[in-house]
């Protein structure tokens, strides 16, 4: 089990009851380590109330194009993406890309 903070930025809070940050306790599938992939599964299964909203967050089993994922303020591509093993106190942020100007 791991205690992490999750943030939904760039308007993504709209599908999470308009709340930008959540503190979560997440269990891994095997009861020990929890990866960012596990966290995403947890979010999709437990936190998106409206099924129709899932496609705003997920596409083809990964984060939808146009959403950036950050682990402790660093692009998840630099941190191992879904394989990154979460530690207590980690902050995982999802931000929708803005296009307005």
């Amino acid at each position: 089990m791991v205690n992490v903070k999750v943030e939904f930025l760039g308007g993504l809070d709209a599908i999470f009851e308009k709340q930008r940050t959540y503190k979560l306790n997440v269990e891994g599938p095997d009861g020990s380590t929890v990866t960012v992939g596990d966290l995403i599964d947890y979010i999709v299964q437990n936190m998106i109330k409206n099924d129709k909203d899932k496609e705003v967050f997920i596409e083809n089993d990964t984060i939808r194009p146009g959403i950036l994922t950050l682990i402790n303020d660093t692009d998840w591509e630099l941190e191992g993406e879904k394989e990154y093993v979460l530690e207590d106190g980690d902050i995982v942020s999802f931000t929708s890309t803005l296009h307005g100007g």
Binding site: G11, I15, K52, E59, G66, D73, T97, G100, G101
Partner: protein, 288 residues
């Protein structure tokens, strides 16, 4: 005769004095870099309006403005270079009038055209830096692609509601480009549940001013190929004002545009074979 030997007129010394004495600008040396700089601003809307006067005021010598929109009343809460008496006027011309009065030393060129694959190279060539102040993914990909082909640095920003984002793309040809960050465009229909496209004027305005700060730093070589690290800044105006800096990936070798084996090239863009509309979908994206 004395005047002729100075690198600037006395009026310019007086005009720029308060910024030249800030050590980071390196005085006259920095001021001459500003005077020689050629900056292309695409979009004279919510981002371009607050950005442009600071570029002109600082003495950026050559500014191009691309915008084929005309001023509407509904723009004026955030597009503060324009005004009620200019409703119906081209935004690029409205902006030019204001800027030319603010600083007559600056040369301003307007492009009252819709940026597209067929005209982008002709407009971009001759500029050093391009500022993406547009509002659709389609133009964001096009601007990045053309800038990569021409080796130009892009200051790219966007905003919606009370939030904004800013990044420097293709920095000196070494940084990541827009496609490195977003290899796949967002699906047009996946944005339905996000709030509609409202915006708070000073929130998008602040991001536009941030663009001016970044542009001055690029021109004055505060950023160098040694110290530059790819980043994306995320601003939120509500409930508290916050500015986060995310450390981002570098250039992706597999990037279709700036990678090792690019398929997006000047030839493929100008021939029209990169179909931006098909790629991005035709839906108005200005919603999420």
């Amino acid at each position: 005769a004395l005047d002729a030997e100075l690198p600037m007129s006395l009026e310019e010394f007086s005009r720029y004095g308060r910024q030249m004495i800030v050590e980071d600008t390196k005085g006259i040396q920095g001021q001459i870099k500003l005077r020689d700089a050629k900056v292309l601003v695409i979009g004279a809307g919510g981002l371009g309006c607050p950005c442009l006067p600071y570029l002109a005021g600082a003495g950026v010598g050559h500014i191009g403005i691309v915008d084929n929109d005309t001023v509407e009343t509904s723009n004026l809460h955030r597009q503060i270079l324009h005004n009620s008496s200019k409703v119906g006027m081209l935004k690029c011309e409205s902006a030019k009038k204001v800027l030319q009065k603010l600083n007559p030393h600056v040369s301003i060129t307007t492009y009252p055209v819709r940026l597209g694959y067929s005209n982008a190279f002709g407009i971009f060539e001759g500029y050093d830096i391009v500022l993406d102040c547009t509002d659709t993914p389609l133009t964001r990909y096009l601007i990045s692609d053309v800038a990569v082909c021409l080796g130009m640095t892009v200051v790219s920003a966007s905003g919606l509601g009370t939030e904004g984002q800013l990044s420097i793309l293709n920095f000196q040809g070494i940084g990541p480009c827009y496609r490195c960050f977003y290899p796949t465009p967002p699906p047009p229909n996946a944005v339905s549940s996000c709030q509609e496209g409202g915006v708070i004027g000073p929130c998008i305005g602040l991001v536009g001013v941030m663009m001016a700060v970044e542009t001055l730093k690029i021109i004055m070589e505060i950023y160098t190929s040694d110290n530059f690290q790819p980043f994306l800044m995320q601003y939120a105006g509500f409930p508290q004002q916050t500015l986060r800096t995310f450390k981002m990936r570098g250039k992706k070798q597999a990037c279709l545009c700036c990678g090792d084996q690019p398929t997006i090239t000047r030839a493929s863009i100008t021939s029209g074979s990169i179909n931006y509309e098909l790629f991005c979908g035709k839906r108005n994206y200005n919603v999420c």
